[in-house]
Amino acid sequence: MTQLTDQWQPSASLAALKQRAALFRTIRAFFETRDVLEVDTPLLSRYGVTDLHLENLVTHISRYPEHTFYLQTSPEYAMKRLLAAYQVSIYQLSKVFRDDEVGRHHNPEFTMLEWYRVGFQMSDLIAEVVTLLETVLGERPIHQFTYQQVFQHYLSINPLTASVAELQTCLSHYSHVADLAQREQDRDTLLQLALALVIEPQLTPAAITIISHFPTSQAALAQVDPEDPRVALRFEVYVGGVELANGYQELTDVEVQRERFTQDNQLRAHFGKSQKPVDHRLLHALAAGLPECSGVALGVDRLLLLQTKKSAIRQILPFDVTCA
């Protein structure tokens, strides 16, 4: 249901709200025992993100009429500025905002848990994510794949070397995506189509599935793997058929970061989207020195959905967007 309503009553039950509060306590206790500092960075910032597929909600402050302010899609840039300044592990449990996402597993305003661990390799952070998930969801089978392995396992294709035509042929065997695959020429879009609509639905629902080493073209803010430049040290975590978390061994090289921002805006132009101003404060922070670290963002509402075995995100939000 995505139509706006005038309903005054909450979309979540009292029991769900109690479970929500308990989950927040569990998360805070988890980081307390690990000596990770809770921070609450601004959600209203003068810069948004340049990502091709993320859109900020924007607003204005009358005191600064010449500026646009962006509601943050994740606290990543501000947290990295803290990391560069203070070099300590930090976490943030807060609302974030993304335009254009309304659905069973999407609400434009949602709760994100994001944390950064100084000195952690990607594998250390994956282990910590699994520990947190098992703390909340109980023990589960762990299925760990690289991006290449998961494509080879479910689609018998190598995502790092397959051509656009080979990806199209592979996807033509799946009737629900075949037509789109035929008219789509962008390699990364085809890979995302394969992962989100063909592979994800086949993942074992009860398992915690980790997919790591995404193609460098989808590195986002992850370091390129020094052992294989075709892939980046980026991972995603799936449980119960939903994408729960996305993490990186963080890119610390300011020049590479600057190139990524430029590439993002070139891609945005290529796909007919507006260019976004680059947050140069993040670049300054990286120039000053981001410690070697790994970080991850986890959708808390989806985690609660899994914990409470409910089917729609509105059932665990006090008020979803349709009645917000």
């Binding site: 995505t2 990502d51 597929h53 993320l54 254009d100 996402e101 309304v102 659905g103 069973r104 999407h106 009737s175 629900h176 995506v177 037509d179 789109l180 789509e184 990364d188 879009t189 995302q192 189509l193 992962l195 989100a196 609509l197 989808q218 986002a220 995603e236 994408e243 996305n246 963002a297 959708g299």
Partner: protein, 189 residues
């Protein structure tokens, strides 16, 4: 016909796919955190009746289908076409066998049916939810059962065969739910 963007997708929207008008049954957005958003939709093809799933990139636009429902009264069958009339304008429309399909066994003269038109031509006929039809054949020997355990088959005037309680006799009128094909009650003449 107008095009629709994926963000206008919702259940009930009529779009063209594979050269056929289709009705969207379900629409779900699948958006990887760092990737392209997709609309996964379940659609019913209105001519073949097939239900299929399709995926669109969010932001794509799709040709709309000029499909409309009209309430028309059934008049008669001339052997090839089934004729219907708009009770207000008295305009008549003829539907072929393909469009009438299963509905043929529930068509009662003067009953108002829903005709689905694509570009002005009937592609589907939906009978009223309940119709009243005369029993023309059923086993008369079975009597005395009022509880309706199991029942017996009865052939109705249109050729439809439904299970009726044992007390129902030839010549009686019965009310039938056309959606399930099940007997509802006897009707006083």
């Amino acid at each position: 016909m107008a095009n629709y963007s994926t963000n206008e997708f919702k259940a009930g929207l009529k779009i063209m796919q594979d050269g056929e008008p289709c009705n969207i049954i379900e629409n779900e957005v699948v958006k990887p955190g760092k990737g392209q958003a997709f609309n996964r939709v379940k659609i019913r093809k209105l001519i073949s009746g097939k239900v299929v799933e399709k995926t669109f990139k969010s932001g794509e636009s799709v040709e709309g289908a000029d499909v409309a429902d009209m309430e028309l009264a059934y008049l008669y069958n001339d052997g090839e076409f089934w004729h219907f009339m708009n009770n207000e304008t008295f305009e008549q429309l003829a539907a072929d066998e393909k469009a009438v399909g299963e509905a043929t066994k529930w068509l009662v003269e003067q009953d108002v049916c829903t005709l689905t038109l694509w570009n002005g031509s009937p592609i589907a006929v939906t009978p009223p939810n309940f119709v009243e039809l005369e029993v023309v054949d059923t086993d008369p020997g079975l009597k005395g059962d009022t509880a309706g355990t199991g029942g017996k088959p009865a052939t109705l005037s249109t050729g439809a065969v439904v299970r009726v309680p044992l007390f129902v006799q030839i010549g009686e009128i019965v009310k039938v739910d056309t959606r399930s094909g099940e007997y509802v009650s006897r009707v006083q003449k």
